[in-house]
C-alpha cells in the first residue's frame, strides 16, 4: 500500500470512529449533557463562592475557566471509554484491520469536539460571572483554548483507553492525568491571564501558546507511537 493510501485509510478510520461516537451521542446525549452540567455547576460554585457584591477577585477568571475545562474533560473521558467497555467493543475495534493509532485519533477528535462544545458555553459564562474580557483578543484566545484542549485530551484519551480494564479506573484516571497535564493547565491559565491584562499582553500569551503547542506535538506523537503496544493485552 502506498503512503498516500495509508494516510487516506488512517483518516478514513479515524473519521469512522468519530462518526460512530457522534451517532451514539446524538441518540443518548448522555456525555454531552453530563459534561455541560458539570462544567456549568463548577463555574456556578466558584461564582457563588468568590463573587462578592458583584465584584470578582482579580485574575480568578482564567483559573476557573481552565479548572472547569479540566474537570468536565475528565468526566467526559471516563464516560466515552465506559461506552466501549459495555460490549467490550474496544476489542472489536482493535481486531479490525485498521491502523490502531487511527482508532486513538478518532477517539481524540470526539473528546476535543465535545470539550469544544463545553467551552462554547463555559467562556461566555465565566466572562459573565467574573467580568472577564475573553473576546478582546478572540483569535489568540481561541488558539489557546484549542491547543490546551488538544493537549489535555491527547493524554487523557491514551490513559482512559489504557485504564479501561482496570477496576479502579475512575480513581486512577485523574491521579495519572492531572500531574502530566499540569503544564497545559499552567500555560493555559497564564496565557489567558496575559490576554485579559489591560492592555492585553500578546507577546506573553503567544509564548504560553507556543509551550502548549509543543506539549501537544510531543504527547500526540508519543500517544500515536505507544497506543498499539499499550492496547495489546
Amino acid at each position: 500500500m502506498g503512503p498516500q493510501r495509508e494516510v487516506k485509510m488512517f483518516f478514513r478510520v479515524a473519521l469512522l470512529v468519530l462518526r460512530k461516537d457522534f451517532a451514539i451521542e446524538a441518540k443518548s446525549r448522555e456525555i454531552l449533557t453530563t459534561t455541560l452540567l458539570f462544567a456549568v455547576s463548577c463555574v456556578l460554585v466558584f461564582a457563588f463562592a468568590l463573587v462578592k457584591e458583584g465584584e470578582a477577585p482579580p485574575d480568578a477568571a482564567p483559573a476557573i475557566l481552565w479548572i472547569a475545562i479540566m474537570f468536565s474533560g475528565t468526566l467526559a473521558l471516563g464516560r466515552t471509554f465506559e461506552r466501549e467497555r459495555y460490549g467490550e467493543t474496544l476489542r472489536a475495534l482493535l481486531l479490525a484491520p485498521a491502523p490502531r493509532p487511527a482508532l486513538y485519533v478518532g477517539k481524540l477528535l470526539g473528546i476535543v469536539l465535545l470539550l469544544g462544545v463545553a467551552e462554547l458555553v463555559l467562556v461566555p459564562l465565566v466572562a459573565f460571572f467574573f467580568g472577564a474580557p475573553f473576546f478582546v483578543q478572540p483569535v489568540l484566545m481561541a488558539l489557546l483554548l484549542v491547543a490546551g484542549t488538544v493537549g489535555f485530551a491527547a493524554v487523557g484519551t491514551l490513559f482512559a483507553a489504557m485504564l479501561m480494564r482496570v477496576r479502579t479506573r475512575d480513581v486512577l484516571l485523574p491521579i495519572l492525568l492531572y500531574p502530566i497535564t499540569v503544564p497545559v493547565i499552567i500555560a493555559g491559565v497564564r496565557g489567558t491571564a496575559a490576554l485579559l491584562a489591560s492592555p492585553p499582553d500578546e507577546v506573553t500569551a503567544t509564548m504560553w501558546l507556543a509551550i502548549v503547542v509543543a506539549f501537544d506535538v510531543v504527547f500526540v506523537t508519543l500517544s500515536l507511537w505507544t497506543f498499539e503496544v499499550l492496547m495489546t493485552e
Binding site: 441518540k27 479490525a96 495489546t232
Partner: protein, 233 residues
C-alpha cells in the same frame, strides 16, 4: 487482502496474568476445514486461548504461527482474516442493527450496502434492522453478533459460546452456518460448555483444564462420556 493461511499452530504457548497462569505450555495445530471444539470447565483458559488466536492477547512465551508466518509478522492483513464472536458480543447497544453492521463493514473496508443486507438476512433481522440493539433479546443479539463477526468472510473463525440465548431453530441455523464455513475452507474454533450441541458438530476436540491441554483428538463418539472420563463430572 493477503494470501490465506492453511493452518494455525501454537507451540508451547503460556500466558499468565499476574500470578494466575491462564495458559500453560499449550501446543495445538488447527487446519482449514476443521471445527475444533474447545471444551473445559470455567477458568480452563478457553477465552484466553481465543484471545491469543485473535492476536488480542500476547503470549508470555511460545509461538503462534498463521501458515508459515509468526503472528507478529502479519499485522493488519492478519486481522482482516480473523472473525471473533466473543461472549460480550461486541455490539453498540445504542445503535441499530444496521448501524452496527455498517460501521464494522466500513471499518473492514467492505462494500457496506451489500454486506450489511446479506448479514441482516442471514441473521433473520431484516424487519428489525432499524431498531436499537438495546431492545433486542439475547438470542437476537447473538445472531447479529455472529453475522458481525463473519461480515468480512474470515479465514479463522473464533466462536465463544455461540449458542448462548438461541432458541432451537436458531441453534440449528448457527450449527449449519458453522458447518458451511468449515466446508468452505475456514478454520473454526468453537469454545462451549454445551457438550450436547458440540457433539456431532465439531470435527476435533481439545479438552482444557487450568490452562493445560488434556486432550486433542478427532471428535469421539459420545463426547460427554469422553469429557467425563478426562475432566471428571
Amino acid at each position: 487482502m493477503t494470501d490465506d493461511f492453511e493452518s494455525v499452530r501454537l507451540t508451547d504457548v503460556s500466558r499468565h496474568f499476574g500470578r494466575r497462569r491462564a495458559l500453560s505450555r499449550l501446543s495445538l495445530t488447527i487446519g482449514a476445514g476443521d471445527i475444533l471444539g474447545l471444551l473445559g470447565p470455567n477458568g480452563a483458559g478457553k477465552s484466553t486461548l481465543l484471545g491469543v488466536l485473535a492476536t488480542l492477547v500476547r503470549p508470555n512465551t511460545g509461538d503462534v504461527t498463521f501458515g508459515d508466518r509468526p503472528a507478529r509478522g502479519w499485522g493488519a492483513p492478519l486481522r482482516q482474516r480473523i472473525g471473533l464472536l466473543a461472549h460480550e458480543l461486541h455490539l453498540y447497544a445504542e445503535l441499530t442493527a444496521r448501524q452496527n453492521l455498517t460501521f464494522f463493514a466500513e471499518l473492514y473496508g467492505l462494500n457496506a450496502a451489500d454486506a450489511v443486507q446479506a448479514a441482516l438476512e442471514r441473521a433473520a433481522l431484516v424487519d428489525r434492522a432499524d431498531d436499537e440493539v438495546a431492545g433486542f433479546s439475547r438470542g437476537m443479539r447473538q445472531r447479529l453478533a455472529l453475522e458481525r463477526a463473519l461480515l468480512h468472510r474470515p479465514r479463522l473463525v473464533l466462536l465463544d459460546e455461540p449458542f448462548t440465548g438461541l432458541d432451537d431453530r436458531s441453534v440449528g441455523a448457527v450449527a449449519d452456518r458453522v458447518r458451511q464455513l468449515a466446508s468452505s475452507g475456514a478454520i473454526v474454533v468453537l469454545a462451549t460448555h454445551d457438550l450436547d450441541l458440540a457433539d456431532g458438530l465439531v470435527t476435533r476436540v481439545a479438552l482444557m483444564r487450568e490452562g493445560r491441554m488434556l486432550l486433542d483428538e478427532p471428535a469421539p463418539e459420545g463426547l460427554r462420556a469422553r469429557y467425563r472420563a478426562t475432566i471428571g463430572q
